[in-house]
Point group: C2
Chain length 406, copies 2
């Protein structure tokens, strides 16, 4: 069993880096705070006897050697970046949970056949740099390295330049060695496990996603001298798009999610009719055919709004993935671990995207979920109980032990 106190203490120490007044964390990818968090992880990993390597996307791998060190490793991990106003657990819990597994193996003097690696993925949130999970995506060959390094934030800074700046542009080979099996421990970020009082979610897959960026173009004009009927108000256009996206979410059943999270009006001045307005859209659903339908509804709605308001419109899908099914045997290992440890559990589909969804393309993968209070995540109020945190790491330990036999 892991040392739940030690894991909790590490979580709380890490949560000080980027701590917000409201008890959350703001540690955006590749900022100075992210560097601090990375440095702390690297120090802890070395103290636990690991060797550390960093790949060109800044993904950090901490390796505990196996008895047969030439074998493919068993991988654990998640991400260390947060949302702009995020919580203390989203991502980093899976990284420090993996570290705790290594520490627990050390405590008990366990030597595994296979090497074990704890990975800290770069820019999972997709908040500073879109799309999400870009660095595990490059690792898994979904995106080119050039594409990954050239993604820009709102100020036009690239992932590549920011990695150099914070000293995490590594030269370890990308995507090698591929793991024998991979596990990601994460908070559920939804309400199901807590509502059903389950200790553990055995994650069987992830829902599909489509992400979009759109912009409407009208004419910026004086708010006091431009009659209503002479306006080309791009802000009004985006307001209608937001309403349409909400409608599309409601129209596609209880499993559909549809969100406009981000907007930018130009010039964003209170006495100017907005001449240009940008927005993001994202859709999620476990069924790809439903996502096709939502996509068609969005295109139609935006076209209609632009025509009605005499606006120019551009809309592109910047990211998508189909619903994911995790590896049956890795999922089985998680289920067996939960059962052996006496934890209540249920199968669950992830609503969020995770690095594991990309790793799953190149290696057998599964995930372990623990409940989170009120299902709240991507919010500073995000919270979990220490007992949940311990249970999740114990399941991770046992699943890893099963898979690390040669």
């Amino acid at each position: 069993r892991v040392d739940g106190e030690r894991l909790w203490a590490s979580l709380m120490e890490m949560a000080r880096i980027g701590a917000t007044e409201k008890g959350g964390v703001s540690r955006l990818a590749l900022t100075d705070l992210d560097r601090e968090g990375r440095d702390l992880f690297v120090r802890w990993a070395r103290e636990a006897g690991c060797t550390v390597r960093v790949d060109p996307m800044g993904n950090i791998f901490a390796r505990r050697p196996g008895l047969r060190d030439g074998l493919a490793p068993v991988q654990m991990g998640s991400h260390g970046d947060s949302q702009p106003t995020g919580g203390r657990f989203d991502g980093i819990y899976g990284v420090l949970g993996g570290l705790e597994v290594v520490r627990a193996l050390n405590d008990h003097g366990v030597q595994t056949e296979r090497p074990i690696e704890v990975v800290n993925w770069t820019n999972e949130e997709g908040s500073r740099f879109a799309p999400a999970m870009i660095a595990s995506g490059v690792y898994a060959g979904v995106f080119d390295l050039d594409y990954g390094l050239s993604r820009t934030d709102a100020e036009g800074r690239t992932i590549g330049a920011e990695l150099e700046r914070i000293g995490y542009a590594g030269d370890a080979p990308l995507g090698a060695p591929l793991p024998h099996a991979a596990f990601e421990l994460h908070i559920e970020q939804g309400p199901v496990l807590e509502a059903e009082q389950k200790d553990i979610g055995v994650v069987t897959g992830g829902q599909g996603q489509r992400w979009y960026e759109g912009e409407l173009t009208g004419q910026s004009a004086h708010a006091g001298t431009t009659p209503m009927n002479r306006r080309k108000d791009a802000g009004l256009g985006v307001a209608r798009v937001i309403a349409a996206v909400h409608r599309i979410g409601l129209d596609h059943g209880p499993l559909a999610c549809a969100t406009v999270g981000q907007v930018a009006f130009h010039p964003n001045s209170r006495n100017v009719v907005p001449g240009r307005a940008a927005y993001t859209v994202e859709f999620r659903h476990p069924d790809d055919a439903v996502l096709d339908h939502m996509n068609a509804a969005l295109l139609a709605a935006v076209e209609e709004i632009a025509a009605e308001l005499s606006l120019g419109s551009s809309l592109k899908q910047i990211f998508s993935y189909a619903p994911i099914v995790f590896d049956a045997d890795c999922v089985g290992a998680v289920r067996r671990a939960a059962a052996a440890l006496g934890y209540s559990h249920r199968d669950i589909v992830s609503g969020a995207g995770h690095d594991a969804c990309y790793v799953n393309r190149v290696a057998p993968t599964a995930m372990v979920f623990v409940p989170c209070v009120d299902g709240i995540s991507h919010n500073e109020a995000e919270d979990i109980r220490q007992a949940w945190s311990t249970a999740g790491a114990n399941v991770l330990l046992h699943a890893v032990l099963e898979k690390s036999a040669a």
Copy 2:
């Protein structure tokens, strides 16, 4: 007559300070670029033989002595700040038009009985610091100096601190000496004069305005795991407010203007349901009773939207003024000047707010409008013809000459 070429050359030289790629100007109040523009105006004013004083709100007064220098001066002027993506004429045309009047008087060796002052008002646009016309408002006693100096921009910097920073926190007495008469030359910023092919607008008054700031509060939540029916989406709330404001504009007749120019979603992350969203509203109408009605409609709409979406709501009116009527004799002087010079002209009510609207409270005041191309303003494409620019300055010259007799 003024030297139209010289005026145009000065306008073009000033427009280089903050010039945008699209041919406009971005010279927000109290930025380094605003300082550059101020320095240039001060240099030119001194070269034209004026003495320069700066008051505690950073308003710059360039004074040409009169034969009877103890008499109250005749004042001309406007503002040197611009919108974030503004044009080359909004504001600065009235400042440099005033300077051209001084230069023309010098050329012709004219000595006026009364002194003449050209004023460059601080932060007229209300874009960086709300409300608009704050510094002429303080000058006219509408606002306290403390209120004026403590207004903040989006980053929390105050007018007072920014004035100190750029070296324009002056110590000349506020609002003294009050002018005998005041004139503001400005582009129309609307389509009327051009459509009717009039050279000059004789501005008889300004419409009423109400400005608001609102915020809706929901709960920021994960966009992929939070079912549509469990969301408290503040962004959706603001989208509905924008639609309601537009409706209110349409519902109150062809003279009503209703605008949401500025929004801010929090955390403004593409995979987070916005937990908080701020917006601005402004209404304009020549009839204060109609503004009362629009106000009531806004309060009702926002309350209903907040209740429907389970959002918290705060909404406050941050600024208002009643419709303004300019001084009959100053208006007459403008009309007489236009007629004497043989310019076509018509009476017009200003859609925009102007420093003259506040000055009018403490001294007899009027305005001169010139057409602008397609009525476009608060836009980088804002444009006027050189002939229009010359005509406006000639009318200003003659109105000032009439009033500067003792």
